[in-house]
Amino acid sequence: MPETWARVAELLQLPFMQRALLGGILTGVTGGLLGSFVIFRQLAFFSDALGHSALLGIVLGVVLGLNPTAVLMVFGVVFALGVTFILERTQLSADAVLNIIYSSSLALAIIGLSLIPGYRGNLNQLLLGDILGISPPALWMSGLLLLLALGYIGLTLTAQMLLTLDESLARARGVEVGWQRLAFVVLLALVVALSIRSVGVLLVSAFVVIPASTARLLGSRFTTYVLLAMGFGGLSAVLGILLSAAFNLPSGPSIVATQLLFFLLAMAAKGASQLLRL
């Protein structure tokens, strides 16, 4: 065991490992911040669907020979705007629309991948991501997005809370519901798209949903809840990456497993405190 941790300490000296930790913290904190609104705005499935659809964005990037991260960001925004547009003009439920879009994108992406010679081997990396390979520009982008999200949510907190609580109350108060919703969804799409390269299409929505759900169990005020969600997001990323380094496990899944561990602990803590009160 001591030699395992000595190896981790050694690994921590390496720049790629430091980048991964920083990237993990930035992604985790941003995911927690947006997630604390997402889970009460019926957007959890949206981020899941966006994650899966993004595979088509990646394939398009490869086919066109463009920077995959840039293509993903554009793809994410187009997806968000497209889904919002279709939802406003259809009688179908959001679940159905999202399902149609994401399963068809996934199908097209996999067909596309099978046509690209020599790319099949990388499918695993696309599905599960590789936070250890995070590049300095991607790190800068993550930092920028976190600042953007903090600025936007911080400055419009009253409007965001009203919108999360009750739409008619928000409208009566003068919140421009349509614009606010669109801005939030675009921001969410950018965050999900940027995180995909590090955590993969399959697990990206966990970064948004799980830390916020954990914080929900423990927060006794809205502000504490949002801060806890950000904290759990960052902490799970750090612990997950360290665990993956120590035991040579895949990094993205290790982070999500750590998020789950915190969620289960929070459930147990909540259950215990309720038992004590009885």
């Binding site: 009460f40 911080g154 400055l155 419009t156 907190l157 009253t158 409007a159 809370m161 009203l162 999360t164 609580l165 009750d166 739409e167 008619s168 109350l169 409208r171 009566a172 108060r173 003068g174 919140v175 929900r216 927060g219 006794s220 005020r221 809205f222 502000t223 504490t224 809840y225």
Partner: protein
């Protein structure tokens, strides 16, 4: 506040609203003066909630014009923030997820001030003081740190009243839920509302299902069944012959109440 007395706070002219392809409100006109308490009564599906939601720009309107505190409500639902701040709306039911970790004090603070971009820590002291005062006046100070999802129906009403009180308002729009709230706290609530209206000069527009409450507290009644059947003081509008015309076959259910 008394200086505002007699001033027109809200006017509605030829308002027509469709919900989908259904005509919900047809050609309704009326005006509300400062300090008045007006009830909207009518059978289920008469368009009462639709009417108040269109007045506030929550629902779009097809025809007619609306003005609040001298400013026209645009078709897009836009009203200047300085006007919006002076209106409080209490919906029939808050459509919120009860699991949301929002305390009563945090909720009441959402009614404070304008929506201009502002960091959460700016003007925090003034905001918190206003929240305390509002909760005290609504006799709900003891609920401050409770979660919104854990309140009983009567407690929630008081908290919503504090939400109205946290900032100086000129117009209160209350959409009362039908029946089921006949608790003893109900009478207490209206006593408090009346007291606040008198001292603060609020104009109140209230959807109501309780004709007894209307006759006791309101000075004006709008009888609505898609279009406005009649309007006037409770003594002229709450007569059996008028009500049977407004409510139609549903009338029998309401009259024993009155």
């Amino acid at each position: 506040m008394t200086s505002h007395l007699g001033e027109v706070v809200l006017w509605v002219e030829g308002l027509t609203v469709y919900r989908g392809s259904q005509l919900a409100v047809q050609n309704v006109s009326f005006a509300l003066e400062a300090g008045s308490h007006t009830a909207i009564v009518g059978p289920n599906g008469a368009g009462k909630s639709t009417l108040v939601q269109a007045i506030l720009g929550i629902l779009p309107r097809q025809c007619g014009s609306i003005g609040i505190l001298g400013e026209p409500l645009r078709l897009s639902g836009y009203l200047p923030q300085k006007v919006r701040q002076q209106i409080a709306y209490v919906p029939q039911r808050l459509q919120f997820n009860p699991a949301i970790p929002l305390t009563v004090a945090e909720f009441v603070a959402l009614g404070w001030g304008s929506l201009k971009p502002r960091w959460p820590w700016q003007q925090q002291a003034a905001r918190q003081e206003a929240v305390q005062k509002a909760l005290q006046r609504a006799e709900a100070l003891h609920l401050a740190s409770k979660l919104l999802g854990q309140l009983s129906g009567g407690e929630l009403k008081r908290v919503l009243l504090a939400y109205c009180l946290v900032w100086p308002r000129r117009l209160l729009v209350l959409d009362e839920a039908p029946a089921g709230l006949d608790s003893p706290s109900e009478g207490e609530f209206y006593r408090l509302l009346e007291e606040l209206r008198r001292s603060l000069g609020w104009a109140i527009l209230q959807v109501s299902h309780d004709l007894e409450m209307v006759s006791r507290h309101c000075d004006r009644v709008l009888c609505l069944n898609r279009s406005l059947i009649c309007q006037g003081s409770p003594s002229v509008t709450l007569l059996p012959e008028v009500l049977s015309q407004v409510y139609g076959p549903e009338f029998a259910r309401y009259i024993h109440h009155h």
